[in-house]
Amino acid sequence: MQGRKNNKEVPGKEVDIKSYKSKAEEKPYLEDLREISSDQRKNMLSAGVDPSHQGRSGTYIQIDHSVVHSKSLYPGLEVMSITEARKKHKWVDNYFWKILSVDADEFTKQAELQPHQGYFLRAKPGVKAVYPLQACLFLNENNIIQNVHNIIIVEEDADVQIITGCATASDVRRGLHIGVSEFFVKKGAKLTFTMIHDWAEDVSVRPRTAALVEEGGMFLSNYICLKPVKNLQMYPKAELIGRGAIARYNSILFAHPGAHLDVGSRVILKSENSRAEIISRVVSGGGDIIARGHLKGEARGIKAHLECRGLMVKKEGMIHAVPELEGSIKDIDLSHEAAVGKIAKDEIEYLMARGLSQSEAQVAIVRGFLDTTIMGLPLELQKAVDDAISACEQDAF
């Protein structure tokens, strides 16, 4: 059975690292982002990154292997490339491969052996920024590999929002993106991290992500992937190592025909009274999705919930939900809810009885299903996401 076959994670599925170019043309640093091309600007905007800095506390933009812009506009926030950060702060090395293992798979190895930059974002202790920081990892050349290593540190009692948009130039068809990201949310700190993926039909993507959340810290991670992509496999993990730490993962995914998305979120609750929530909404518009989730409770008084809903809108495609709960001590509360189905006929007919056509009813239901209000996205970002949802609907119906 197809489902059974897909149950096991196959990190390398269909990716041949050697088939991508490892050299890319050097891109110049742009002091003034108005110099960015209009095609790049358009594609960045639809991934939630605004090159005008409007309503942002800082910006990092990397095109292929070059850092083209990096600037903080808010005191107490650091924004720079990872190479610059390692030069500036000796201690950054201590965070390298601290919570991910370099030999975890061929992609982590690749990221270490052939690094192409990545960003370093840090909020100093107690810094609370109103506007989000933004980072963009952009593929401008066809057929290249981009390996980045990102480090994000939110120091004690700081509170920051980060938007990461990944996008390609309009004429890029094929590429491979490997993104290693290590997040550190210190005592009492809060990080809201929103990642929007806006790749192309034949791009493969391998994020490798882990987060460490200390006492009273809060890590909210939103992931949105609504545009075509060839194959994407990731299973980010958060470890809650301090009392009362919180992690929340929200994901919304849409699989276009021919796409293969194997996406999960995992939280290991290692300390007392820590909490976690994993919510995913996935729609197959003809492509395949494996939606995973894993909660592991190892300390007293923890509470965590996993919810995965899948919607099939075409005859083709499949959705396989794989929720896992693991408890190794009593006095814990882990729960999950999973549902996969097509759009319910009674819902469509209900809306039709109010005068909506069948396709209007379907659009309303899918749009409602992909509701992002729980993510609490900034207004401008909400617009980019709404546009992406509309584009999916046009493809699906």
Binding site: A353, S357, G368, D371
Partner: protein, 247 residues
């Protein structure tokens, strides 16, 4: 407005309505009484065109047009509307969005919501976690926004507390009186709603068949006295006799 001729309907292969003949004239209100499971909801679903309710015989004629083959939305756009007894939840679609999609231009969503005690519900998902009474109010709110020429009310009083039943009655009258020709079909199991909304004619539906047709007040009196079991033996004769005497 609506004529139903020799209508038989099946749900998953089982006949739930047999040889129904009914007419609702312009401006008229017809009450359909009947015990649970007698086919009242099925009748409305078949008229609206819900796919589970298959017409095996007969015709539905609305505004002079045979509509058997029309889709639900086509029927709705011709001027039919309904409040459902058990509507589904539409996740992620707020009541406000729903109403704004279906409303007539002159409907003031926020102002009306206040009058329905639904202000706080506008930004909630349609029917998600609504109580019985809240569903009724939300359904009526949508129907008023939609403002059809022919309205179907499926047990408007069920699950509604005493305070709110007055509100329910008021809204039903507003919907029915909006235009002189507006008509309605009111389904009720208990008949309580007649205290607030007057019906012109009534009938009893039993085991998928129409048993008698006449003055709704008399039908209710009979049903109260003898129960719906009384209808089985009577077959509408008492009502017919009463009507004759009155004439």
């Amino acid at each position: 407005m609506l004529r139903i001729e020799n209508l038989s309907v099946s749900v998953s292969g089982k006949e739930v309505l047999t040889d129904i003949n009914l007419e609702i004239k312009k401006g008229e209100r017809l009450a359909v009484l009947g015990p649970n499971g007698s086919g009242k909801t099925s009748l409305l679903m078949a008229i609206m065109g819900f796919s589970d309710y298959k017409i095996t015989r007969g015709n539905i004629i609305f505004k002079g047009k045979q509509i058997n083959g029309l889709s639900i939305d086509e029927r709705a756009r011709l001027g039919m509307g309904i409040i459902f007894q058990r509507p589904p939840t539409i996740r992620g679609v707020r009541l406000r969005q729903m109403v704004n999609m279906i409303k007539h231009n002159d409907f003031d969503t926020d102002k009306e919501a206040k009058g329905f005690n639904l202000k706080g519900f506008l930004d909630r998902d349609v029917n998600l976690g609504f109580s019985g009474g809240e569903i009724k109010r939300s359904e009526l709110f949508q129907l008023l926004a939609n403002s059809p020429d022919l309205s179907f009310f499926d047990e408007p009083e069920s699950g509604v507390d005493l305070e709110n039943i007055i509100l329910v009655g008021k809204v039903m009258n507003r919907i029915l009186n909006k235009n002189k020709d507006n008509a309605g079909l009111i389904i009720t199991h208990t008949g309580y709603i007649f205290k607030y909304v007057k019906a012109d004619r009534g009938c009893v539906l039993l085991g998928g068949k129409i048993h008698c047709l006449g003055d709704p007040k008399w039908i209710l009196e009979e049903v109260t006295k003898y129960g719906y079991e009384g209808c089985i033996t009577c077959k509408g004769e008492r009502i017919t006799r009463k009507s004759r005497v009155k004439r």
